[in-house]
């Protein structure tokens, strides 16, 4: 075999061996378990901390509110929709949840807007007792009743 070819073959073999050696050390262990990715990434995701505790956690302690709401249209709304993320509070009740709005939080959903479904209860703020806070007449958990 001509010397040029022999030398090049040697170089080629060296490169291929180096490539597969590198692969052996650099490909993560769980790569390929479910597909072309690191299967351990699924476990990494599962271990991320949560911030919203979920409705079941609220019901554990606040049965009286859940009962009161049962009569209201608001019964199907999760506590954390208005009260914000409560995982820290659920874990340790001494961590107080943030206060919800300043009595006008209702407008976020109930202010009249053309893009809202027609049958959804809406009020035109300028016509509906302007200057008053919603909570002066409506109890948030049971809005048909005064607080």
């Amino acid at each position: 075999m001509p010397p040029q070819i022999t030398r090049l073959l040697l170089v080629t073999v060296a490169i291929v061996v180096a490539y597969f050696t590198a692969r052996h050390f650099l490909v993560p262990a769980s790569f390929g378990q479910y597909g072309w990715y690191r299967a351990d990434a699924l476990k990494d995701y599962q271990l991320l901390p949560i911030n919203y505790a979920g409705q079941a956690a609220c019901a554990d302690c606040h049965e009286e509110v859940i009962k009161k709401r049962a009569k209201a249209k608001h019964r199907s709304i999760a506590c954390e929709t208005c009260h914000g993320p409560l995982y820290a509070h659920a874990n340790d009740p001494t961590v107080k949840p943030a206060k919800v709005g300043n009595g006008n939080f209702c407008v976020r959903c109930h202010e009249a807007a053309p893009a809202r479904p027609e049958k959804f209860p809406q009020v035109v703020l300028a016509d509906h007792n302007p200057g008053q806070k919603c909570t002066e007449c409506h109890a948030p958990h049971l809005p048909t009743e005064a607080p």
């Binding site: 597909g35 911030n51 919203y52 053309p114 479904p117």
Partner: protein, 272 residues
């Protein structure tokens, strides 16, 4: 709309072609992957969650959305998404379709779309007078977790992947931050996180659903617009199955063949 056969064959052909290209390297890889599989199956997953025993889906009832923005806000809280008007894993769009000028012979006029800060904090009152509006509605957007996901196909290293339980995820420890997946997503659902410099997207709140909780957006949605469920463990009266049965379903940009797994009911042709 969801011919799974089509997706299987197309993917099959593509990956077969790819394997031909990879040639000898692929053979060696296959051997290695088998060895890895054997080893990993013997180590139990944490909390005993088995991704092969679930199939998660979300569906959206556009007729119910009031555009309060609670979902977009909760998503940022839950997933520590940067509080910046350029980064969202989910957001809500407002469509206002004006009446056609009188006598123009057109069915409808101009369509105005907006999503200020992704709808967080709600929408400001529209400047279009009510008398000029033909119809208006909100469309919540999130990753469609496509079963023929163009982002997954584009990822050069295998950092983006489709999980066995119906989500499309990004491995932040493996992503090189090339941004090809962001370009490949037709729905604008991905972004490069300015702090981690890796691709990010809706995960269906994978850390929550594997603990038995709903995704944060579905948890806080006050109107039941976002319906979430597990197709492999659904009882016949499951809200998700009921939703599928009672509605005509649509997906976004069906002509692109991405086969989204997030279904909408009540979508207008203007929504894309």
């Amino acid at each position: 709309m969801k011919s799974s056969q089509q997706s299987v064959s197309r993917r099959g052909v593509l990956s077969a072609l790819g394997k031909l290209v990879a040639g000898a390297a692929a053979l060696a890889t296959a051997r290695k992957v088998r060895a890895v599989t054997k080893q990993a199956v013997t180590t139990p997953a944490p909390a005993g969650y088995d991704p092969t025993k679930h199939q998660w889906r979300m569906a959206l009832d556009v007729n119910k959305c009031i555009g309060c923005g609670s979902c977009a806000d909760a998503c940022k809280n839950e997933n520590h998404v940067p509080r910046d008007p350029g980064y969202f894993r989910t957001w809500v769009e407002r469509y206002i379709i004006k009446k056609a000028p009188h006598g123009s012979g057109e069915p409808c006029g101009e369509t105005l779309v907006d999503s200020p800060n992704g709808s967080i904090g709600g929408f400001p009152p529209t400047l279009v007078p009510k008398s000029e509006i033909l119809k208006a509605f909100h469309v919540p957007k999130l990753c469609n977790q496509c079963s023929n996901s163009p982002c997954d196909m584009a990822c050069p290293v295998g950092a983006t992947f489709r999980t066995p339980d119906g989500a499309v995820l990004v491995d932040p420890t493996y992503c090189i931050g090339c941004g090809f997946c962001v370009q490949a997503c037709p729905y604008g659902c991905r972004f490069i996180n300015p702090l981690s410099h890796t691709a990010e997207k809706c995960t269906f709140c994978y850390h929550r659903i594997t603990r038995g909780l709903k995704p944060a957006c579905a948890e806080v949605c006050p109107t039941g617009t976002r319906i979430f469920g597990d197709l492999k463990n659904a009882k016949p009266d499951d809200p998700l199955l009921q939703f599928y049965a009672k509605n005509r379903l649509q997906v976004l940009k069906p002509h692109l063949g991405t086969l989204p797994r997030v279904f909408y009911a009540g979508l207008d042709e203007e929504a894309r």
